[in-house]
Amino acid sequence: MTPDQFKNQMIGLLPRLRRFALSLTRSGPDADDLLQDACTAALAKWQQYDPSQPFDRWMFRVLRNLWMSELRKRKVRQGEGQVDAHDSAELRAPGDQDDQMTARQVRQKVADLESDLSQPMLLVCAEGYSYREAADLLGVPIGTVMSRIHRARKQLVSSLSSEVVGQT
């Protein structure tokens, strides 16, 4: 692979990289900063990329590693860590919303999923990762991927109708 091919692939991948960055950071400005840093880092070490491996997976890993290191820095600076997905997720009682939400509102709920839930959901449902691959990238056990995807779906289901929720 030539440097130009490498750079062109990276440019072509930007929409999907930015989407993954959004699922990690849950904030547009943070996602853009992370994207910028990841591209700079990848360009600097592009010779470490093995062309026999999928380029998108390699870039996702670069992005994810940078974000973990950014979180560690923030933790040191602010004396606080990553917000646990449970915190807000569990506060939402299934019964406290109207029977049906509009499609737009449900989509907003997808955008509002906690980072811990949004990452595996994006990787598996939109990027075609297996549980094993998602677990490798996210550095968590397979069982955690499975339960987080389930939790993400349950949160979305709860906004669809209150009927199915509660009977499970």
Binding site: K7, R18, C125, V157
Partner: protein, 255 residues
């Protein structure tokens, strides 16, 4: 019970082993409530995919694409045991070329400069015309997404022209950067595997009347370019492509 819901979720992702999947299917077959649960999960997935897909249509930071393109990266790993004299000799050659004076060098690049964005397009085409696996970033099956995403990013609306009457099958598209502006590149393949691309870029000027087609050859490719509707367009193909003029005219009508 919640355990079953988690099983259903994993079942949706094809992540259950055969035995567990059969158990889920057996229960789905005679428990309407289980089926309703599965339907709800699938409905949630549909909304999730819709939102994830919409996120792809957001324009990417163009400054970043430009920065990637202009960043210089080494084409070869530095040799581990390169003799010092080799480096010195290479340095001397560079000095010697530099010493010959800028005029000759400037003279040599002038034709490419006049080509403007087309020179960049020619570079890209040389790369992609030989690519089979990575010909496009977004495949033809996502044509709507290509039109929305690339249209938004480039800042010029377009429809993907149907060029099948020339034996050209649409393969998909990708985002390029040429002349410091975003370019939408739409790729077509003919039956022999030759790559023909249609590229477009937003333009400040928009001539009135019928488009004027301009033919050029750059780096062994034929270029037919025109401007219309606030955008510059070019069709690129191999030099022996006979009907490229007709392709460009059809593309100009449909794009």
């Amino acid at each position: 019970m919640n355990e079953f819901s988690e099983q259903l979720s994993a079942y949706l992702d094809g992540e259950l082993d055969e035995k567990a999947a059969e158990a889920v299917e057996a229960r789905l077959a005679d428990d309407p409530h289980a089926q309703a649960q599965l339907d709800a999960l699938m409905q949630a997935d549909a909304f999730a995919r819709e939102e994830f897909s919409a996120q792809l249509d957001e324009p990417v930071p163009f400054a970043l694409a430009q920065q990637i393109k202009t960043t210089q990266i080494q084409s070869q790993p530095p040799p581990r045991s390169r003799p010092v004299w080799g480096a010195l000799a290479a340095g001397l050659v560079l000095v010697a070329i530099g010493g010959l004076g800028g005029y000759a060098y400037k003279g040599a690049v002038t034709p490419i400069q006049t080509a403007g964005w087309l020179a960049d397009i020619a570079d890209y085409h040389a790369v992609y015309a030989s690519e089979v696996r990575h010909l496009v970033e977004v495949g033809a099956d996502e044509s709507d997404h290509i039109e929305t995403w690339l249209g938004n990013t480039v800042g010029a609306r377009f429809d993907i022209p149907d060029l099948t009457s020339f034996g050209l099958t649409f393969q998909g598209g990708r985002l390029l950067v040429a002349n410091a502006k975003p370019v939408a590149q739409l790729m077509y393949l003919d039956a022999d595997g030759a790559v023909v691309a249609l590229c477009l870029q937003r333009s400040a000027t928009s001539p009135q009347g019928a488009p004027e087609f301009k033919e050029q050859q750059i780096n062994g490719f034929d270029f037919i370019s025109w401007s219309a509707n606030g955008a510059d367009y070019v069709v690129i193909g191999p030099m022996d492509q006979e009907n490229l003029n007709a392709v460009a005219e059809k593309a100009a009508l449909e794009v």
